[in-house]
Subunit: 197 residues, 2 copies
């Protein structure tokens, strides 16, 4: 009973050390030029143990993203029908990405890697697929159509595109807050890109 807690804490701690080491090494030398041996050494563990904590080299950058997805699903589930479907998705995205000021530097580091390193950009597709499933399921529930139909899929993938784009401009600019960028992107999307006219 108490052991499981202690063990879980230890696991969490080494996992954090791995993530921190990977983040620093990747930003310093680039993703491809860092070996798993080096990350393991920097984290004070063996290479084999490294692969027991993270499912792969690219995975070391993502914190516990699964919890992130779960929170997003909960927020969408708590949505009422007052707001539009897109507005509820936007609100959920904004809320789930409402980080504390102290966490922003690490978020910047993480997102810069994910958005610039080709291998991580490719790998992100796998992680984001889980987000898409959650959003598509929400749209399907709200509209009463199949989650695999065109509209739920399209809404899921293009709202995620909006979120990704918002992250990109937030990362590039530095002055614009993340929430503002998210709202701007979602407004463009929901209005059929009014600024094009």
């Amino acid at each position: 009973m108490t052991q499981t807690v202690v063990v879980a804490d230890a696991r969490e701690e080494t996992r954090t050390r791995i993530e921190s080491a990977a983040l620093d090494l990747f930003t310093a030398h680039g993703f491809e030029r860092v070996t798993t041996d080096e990350i393991a050494d920097a984290a004070g563990i063996s290479r084999r143990t490294f692969f027991r904590h993270v499912s792969g080299k690219a995975d070391a950058v993502w914190g516990d993203f699964d919890a992130h997805v779960v929170r997003l699903a909960e927020m969408l589930a708590a949505t009422t029908d007052d707001a539009s479907v897109l507005a509820s998705i936007c609100a959920a995205y904004v809320e789930v990405n409402d980080y504390r000021e102290a966490d922003l530097p690490m978020l910047r580091q993480r997102m810069r890697l994910i958005l610039t390193e080709p291998a991580l950009q490719a790998h992100s597709q796998v992680r984001y697929a889980a987000v898409d499933r959650v959003v598509a399921a929400h749209v399907a529930a709200r509209t009463g159509v199949d989650p695999d139909a065109l509209v739920p899929r399209l809404v899921a993938i293009s709202t995620r595109a909006a979120a990704t784009t918002a992250f990109e401009v937030w990362l590039a600019d530095g002055r614009v807050p993340l929430g503002a960028a998210l709202h701007q992107a979602f407004d463009e999307l929901a209005g059929g890109f009014p600024s094009l006219r």
Copy 2:
């Protein structure tokens, strides 16, 4: 002079053999369970030569996608300002994906792999990034803003999302033509998802 043509033809021919072998083996046994040795054997070449023709195992599935992107860029460049920006992008996507009837089976095979196999889905991000750059540049040229600004990026990535979704439903249904699915997805996008209301 004549030699270069002959050589280029030979290169094209082995490239086609590689692609055909890879497509068949991947659909038969799954991407992960097929080794590069097996593809090379099936194509009648050595493993080393395999990697001289394609840049990686995942790359073997994509034909000459670069030419695809070039054609898309040309179509966008030939666009007049009569139609809206989104309409011009939609037209370009439809036209560049207007395959002959005889090519549809291979296209189906290719897209089924790309959209279902996780490794290929991840790798597609790298190839599609070139498409996004072309579309974003077009939007930037039409609207007079920076290609790295929010709207060009967002239009590029969400129109590609529309195209991907159209491919998914085309692949899943079998009866709906690809052009129709593309138009439907673009209509949803351009109208701010009217079917959600």
